[in-house]
Symmetry: C2
Subunit: 306 residues, 2 copies
């Protein structure tokens, strides 16, 4: 049974929508893994500490402080405490770049890792930089492209441990908007999609990116007058959006050796889209890589303070 | 003062969002013009007649029936009564193509004009076909391009009174989704936009349509790290979306002589976008053209039944 004294430190991935924490032993064993939906988007700055305590207070030691390594939107200007961006090209941020947060509860020793920014073209990330650090921990000299799919998918060019540049596409968010809020919702399926329709749409936009805007409403129209099924419509919407994304980044990022950090359904969709280009890609588990990145930060911290 | 006996017929433009009616005299004078927000999207089939009566019952004659000419989404399958699409190429539908609706109230003589469909590429319209009829009433041999901007903008190729083909872009709906529901909303201005940023974005996408998907998140990022103002961000979003639309239709539609049916702000935005291409365009008042189209239908009906 886990006791409070077993816990050496806590890792927290605090995004816009969710907060996930892991309590770890001194050997790196995950003792507790919990989550809540109190993401940065729902919290005022003063509400972060109570939200964190709600999730972990029962596992805090009765005395002494616990190091807590945080990545993600909690470090944004509207978050808990701003952790100013580092500028690329640079290696992923380390504990030396983190912002120490003043807390009311003396048991909390909170460090927020900063995100990365790029000035030209303008771009930002918060949270993914820690995944990149976790990825590089296992393959420090990797040179190639990382794809971190999600609400805002990141494409990252890595060279010998340095983030050279990156680009964000809001494909996941756009898909959700069209699916749930637009006229297209009437003809879409609940979750399944037709793979053939998906691939045709990916290739259609890759071959001729300018068709994108008029193809979108075509999804609705084909449901009304051409017998298109809901699963075909959903596949086509997904394919048009990911096709437009690949078209927009393929000149800037080498797609011949892509590592996709994500084991979720969306990661599989990107994998299938890259297959349309004749490219294979590796799928790596995002959550364990996030924890790996936060563990790196803690290890450096423990070394410095020991 | 208008009396009930002055009213010869009623015109109704019944879209997804709104219902607008005009009561007209035998000389075509507009006696009453009213609207409500009870669009097709909010009504079950049985609710259309009560919604119409709520708006016009006080002006109906005490006996005899009043012809009511309806265009728009009220004629869709989920509307009041389905008015099956006509297929292009064809002239805009006339009263002979209309669906007569059975009503409980004997004073209502309701005719719904059908929309148009296109099989390849699949596309549909409901309501705009009546505007096209109204436009052609004044220039029956016009050959060129009509642009009907709105939530779903229509581009129409006309040749000697025939709708040869058309294309729909859901640019207005997409703009509203990004503006109110996406992460981009944080950096946008309330209503004003910067014209320079708009034009730059239109040209950026027209010159290289494939950049569209990654430029979108660039709007958010430039607000965060490059000092972009809210009016610049709004202009850029509008410009990227209309630029992508023009890129997708410019090969299919002659943009050298475009008539834009719409006097609203959105019509002005399309006019400005065409100027980026060095094209001038005529702006015509959409509402009076809709009424002109419905009047045409009534005139034919009155001729047939007299």
């Amino acid at each position: 049974m886990t006791t409070q004294t077993d816990i050496t430190w806590i890792a927290a991935d605090w995004g816009t929508t969710n907060l996930r924490v892991w309590a770890l032993s001194d050997t790196g064993e995950i003792l507790i893994h919990r989550g809540s939906d109190r993401g940065m988007g729902k919290l005022a700055p003063a509400e972060f500490e109570p939200a964190l305590l709600d999730l972990i207070e029962d596992i805090l030691p009765t005395r002494g402080e616990v190091p807590i390594m945080v990545c993600g939107m909690a470090g944004s200007r509207q978050g808990w405490a701003e952790a100013p961006y580092k500028s690329v090209p640079c290696p992923p941020p380390s504990i030396a770049d983190a912002t120490r947060v003043k807390t009311a509860d003396p048991r909390l020793d909170v460090h927020i890792l900063p995100g990365l920014k790029q000035l030209k073209p303008a771009d930002v990330m918060r949270g993914e930089e820690t995944q990149i650090a976790g990825f590089l921990a296992d393959q420090p000299v990797f040179s190639g492209t990382l794809c971190l799919p999600g609400t805002h998918t990141k494409w990252v060019k890595l060279k010998s441990g340095v983030v050279e540049r990156f680009r964000t596409c809001m494909t996941g968010e756009t898909f959700a908007l069209y699916r749930h809020r637009s006229v297209l919702r009437h003809g879409l399926s609940e979750s399944e999609f037709d793979t053939g329709a998906f691939k045709n749409a990916v290739l259609c936009v890759l071959q001729d990116p300018k068709v994108f805007a008029s193809e979108l409403f075509g999804i609705r129209a084909a449901s009304l007058v051409a017998g298109q099924t809901p699963t075909e419509a959903t596949g086509r919407l997904s394919g048009l959006l990911i096709g437009a994304e690949l078209a927009s980044i393929r000149d800037e990022f080498d797609l011949a050796d892509v590592a996709i950090l994500g084991s979720s359904k969306i990661a599989g969709t990107y994998h299938a889209a890259l297959e349309c280009l004749g490219q294979d890609a590796r799928l790596l588990d995002a959550e364990s890589i996030t924890l790996r990145g936060l563990t790196l930060a803690f290890s450096c911290y423990a070394r410095e303070t020991s």
